[in-house]
């Protein structure tokens, strides 16, 4: 799996903020151990689901807030393929933005940066050291706008393409048995029409 996230030239989150963010994302989308029911495939135990923070949520947010530290900005990954299933490894070649698109994204990112600064401060520097109920209590008291934003970014980071910084090594996709991008190979007609094979569906 790709890991094109280079250390940012100017970190947008300091170490304390990163720790808080990882704990926040892990509380919003917590990990689950291997072997829990339901097993996604046959008799195999279900692989562990990583927490959104531990799987790279901080890198995801850092890359987003620092998108314009790179040229082209790291907003839209390239294409047409990642190279994981044949074809070229094009995802790492991020696409250019037009001047007007850049204006919109700079505004959006400025708003998010401010929301993270305020929201992470509101959670407190000791947030990562709290137990689960302590964390949930603090999250409950967060500004709802920031709570929604953090949840959206947690989902995007955990289940989006690893090129954006989260979903470390595709571990979340593996846990939910999702191949991710499939082009240019895709699926054969038989895999589409008879995905469970001759025995029929079991899971």
């Amino acid at each position: 799996m790709d890991d094109t996230t280079t250390p940012p030239s100017a970190p947008h989150l300091d170490d304390a903020q990163r720790r808080t963010l990882v704990a926040l994302f892990d509380a919003l989308l917590p990990p689950a151990p291997a072997g829990d029911d339901p097993a996604p495939a046959g008799d195999d135990p279900a692989p562990a689901v990583p927490g959104a923070g531990t799987a790279g949520g901080d890198r995801y947010v850092e890359q987003l807030l620092g998108a314009f530290d790179h040229d082209p900005p790291r907003i839209w990954a390239g294409g047409p393929t990642s190279g994981r299933h044949g074809g070229i490894d094009g995802f790492g070649d991020f696409l250019e933005l037009s001047g007007w698109e850049a204006l919109a994204w700079r505004r959006r990112i400025e708003g998010w940066a401010e929301a993270y600064r305020t929201g992470l401060t509101q959670l407190g520097e000791d947030f990562a050291s709290l137990d689960e109920s302590g964390r949930l209590e603090r999250i409950e008291r967060l500004d709802p706008g920031f709570r929604d934003l953090a949840f959206e970014h947690a989902c995007e980071s955990l289940y989006g393409d690893p090129v954006y910084g989260g979903n470390r090594d595709g571990s979340a996709w593996a846990a939910i048995d999702f191949r991710g991008d499939t082009a240019p190979t895709g699926w054969t007609d038989d895999e589409v029409t008879n995905p469970h094979g001759p025995g029929g569906p079991t899971w």
């Binding site: 919003l28 989308l29 917590p30 689950a32 829990d36 339901p38 996604p40 279900a46 689901v49 907003i75 990954a77 390239g78 294409g79 047409p80 393929t81 990642s82 094009g90 995802f91 696409l95 037009s98 001047g99 007007w100 698109e101 204006l103 919109a104 994204w105 505004r107 949840f151 959206e152 947690a154 989902c155 995007e156 955990l158 289940y159 989006g160 393409d161 954006y164 979340a172 996709w173 846990a175 939910i176 048995d177 991710g180 991008d181 499939t182 082009a183 240019p184 895709g186 699926w187 007609d189 038989d190 895999e191 589409v192 029409t193 008879n194 995905p195 469970h196 569906p201 079991t202 899971w203």
Partner: protein, 576 residues
């Protein structure tokens, strides 16, 4: 008059692409102005793919890569005047704003309309509170252009729909692979007396027109195709470019149609050159002169342009009679994975029965106090990707198991009925009184609420679709609508504005100038060298996706302009 070209085409979606293709083929010089970016194809020979399309959920569904960015181009929505000036600002029925328009990311179910769709008023009669009309043209007028559209785009399909209109020839390609979920839902529908069939789809099932067959990548609806198996609109644009008579200029926002002093003849267009970017201050205003102006900005942006420019509205009909599909969404989860969210072309089967109706549907209409009701095409399809699924479950301990269990993605099967929406003059696009785009132009505002007809049709069909899902083997099924109804509507995750991306009717075609915006050849009554080549001109919404019909209409309009109309086929000449 010295001109820069024969025709300026405003917008490069399916409608504009078709016009550009047909006009250049007839020897006209054409310039296509597109306000969005180009991610589709190189604009220099050999006009190959740019390679920007990919299987990337974030880029396509969360980060506006195909535009428009709602920060730059906000729209507003209200249900009716009681909502005040607006209740929502942002994305309202946005289709991509990019070279290729909405065709780039549509999953391209491309059915034809039926004969009675063009004569709804005469075949079924009026409905109180709605403006049900006949089209000024008939299916037979459009049939040769339907055949041409299917051939140009490359439509894969089969002739097994018992309700389909006659056709002069077969589909250019056989259907592609059936999605597994459809192999369960289609037979179940048949067992309950319905007539499902393989959806006519604008994606290659075999190599066609120099483009490869679909690889069933699973990222179809809402995504650009990474292998170029979708033909609409890339096939049309590439063919136009290859004539050497077409120039496409992205990042060009048309803001006005220039006219002679009497206002009766267009002389060209005025547009903002967005390629300079904000660093240069206000975008430079440029002009192009042409003999003909083709408006193809889509049924939201075309009326917006006409209204901001004060053009074509002597009948006060511009923007009115907006129709969207009233969607009934019936979903259910199988006890096993059906892979609808990850393999195949999003939808592979459909059925039309609720358009045609039966005794039970007629009884439901009577019970609702309506003379008739019509539903729409029901698409049998899969769910969305994992990011979308993750958002639905909400945060908490349950989340990882819910994702592994995947009842709302890989086990989910979705029936979407594209319910026919009756025209009402008060449903409309107009200019928001205060909201502006980033360049200072008035934003478009949608005012829309359903008629009783749509509610009655949805209430009748929902339980039928649930029964089909249970017959197919789901563990549970539930029906909702878009836009949502009831007390909890405001909290609905899909929002209060209709989610349908099928938008039609805002520059209606008619036989009489006082009741319509364009004539039966799609020329503005008020300024006949301006033609409209998008779904604005539709007189009824029908229960079918609009795109093949708008392509056929655009091909017809262009052929009438160049004096090379196709001759009508004989209904008896081909397969029925």
């Amino acid at each position: 008059m010295v001109t820069d070209c024969d025709a300026v085409v405003v917008g490069s979606g399916p409608g504009g692409s078709t016009a550009a293709h047909a006009l250049t083929r007839a020897g006209w010089d054409v310039i296509v102005l597109e306000k969005g970016r180009n991610h589709l194809l190189a604009l220099e020979p050999p006009f190959g793919p740019l390679g920007h399309m990919s299987n990337d959920e974030l880029k396509f569904t969360r980060r506006h890569v195909l535009g428009p960015d709602p920060i730059l181009e906000p729209r507003s929505f209200r249900r009716d005047g009681a909502d005040g000036e607006r209740i929502h600002v942002g994305d309202v029925n946005n289709l991509p704003s990019t070279v290729g328009g909405g065709g780039v990311h549509a999953d391209g179910k491309l059915p034809r309309f039926r004969e009675d769709d063009f004569a709804l008023r005469s075949s079924l009669g009026p409905v109180e509170g709605a403006d049900v009309v006949d089209w000024p043209i008939a299916y037979a007028d459009l049939e040769p252009y339907y055949a041409e559209a299917e051939r140009l785009v490359g439509v894969a399909g089969e002739e097994t729909n018992p309700f389909a209109a006659w056709r002069s020839g077969p589909f250019p390609m056989p259907p592609g692979a059936d999605m597994f979920g459809a192999t369960l839902s289609a037979p179940a529908a048949e067992r309950l007396g319905l007539h499902p069939y393989r959806a006519p789809t604008g994606a290659n099932s075999v190599p066609y027109d120099g483009r490869p067959a679909c690889v069933n990548c699973g990222f179809c609806g809402y995504y650009g195709c990474p292998v170029e198996a979708k033909g609409d609109p890339v096939a049309l644009l590439r063919a136009a470019l290859r004539t050497g008579r077409c120039r496409i200029v992205p990042e060009s926002l048309v803001v006005g149609v220039t006219r002679t002093p009497d206002g009766r003849t267009a002389t060209g267009v005025r547009y903002l050159d967005l390629s300079a970017g904000p660093a240069a201050g206000d975008p430079p205003v440029r002009e192009l002169r042409s003999r003909v102006v083709v408006l193809a900005g889509g049924a939201f942006e075309t009326p917006r342009l006409l209204l901001r420019d004060g053009l074509g509205n002597s009948s006060d009909q511009v923007g009115r009679n907006l129709m969207v599909h009233f969607q009934t969404l019936t979903v259910g989860a199988f006890p096993f994975r059906v892979f609808g969210a990850s393999r195949g072309r999003s939808v592979t089967h459909v059925h039309d029965d609720h358009i045609v109706g039966d005794d039970a549907q007629r009884a439901a209409a009577r019970a609702a106090g309506l003379p008739w009701i019509r539903g729409g095409l029901v698409e049998h399809g899969g769910a969305a990707g994992p990011v979308q699924e993750a958002l639905i479950y909400g945060p908490g301990r349950h989340h990882p198991d819910a994702m592994r269990d995947s009842s709302l993605r890989e086990r989910l099967w979705v029936f979407t009925m594209q319910g026919e929406d009756l025209a009402r003059p008060e449903n409309r696009i107009d200019l928001d009184p205060t909201l502006r785009d980033v360049w200072g132009g008035p934003a478009g505002r949608m005012t829309w609420s359903p008629h009783r007809h749509e509610l009655a049709a949805s209430a009748h069909v929902g339980p039928i679709l649930e029964a089909v899902l249970f017959e197919a083997g789901v563990e549970w099924a539930v029906t909702s609508t878009s836009p949502p109804l009831g007390e909890d509507a405001a909290a609905h995750p899909m929002g209060l504005a209709p989610a349908s991306r099928h938008i039609v009717g805002t520059a209606r075609m008619g036989a009489r100038a006082e009741h319509s915006v364009v004539d039966p050849e799609c020329r503005l009554w008020d300024c006949p060298n301006v033609v409209v080549c998008d779904s604005s001109v539709f007189c009824t919404s029908t229960g079918y996706g609009p795109t093949l019909t708008l392509i056929a209409l655009a091909a017809r309009t262009a052929a009438l302009l160049t004096g090379e109309p196709l001759s009508a086929a004989d209904p008896g000449s081909g397969p029925r």
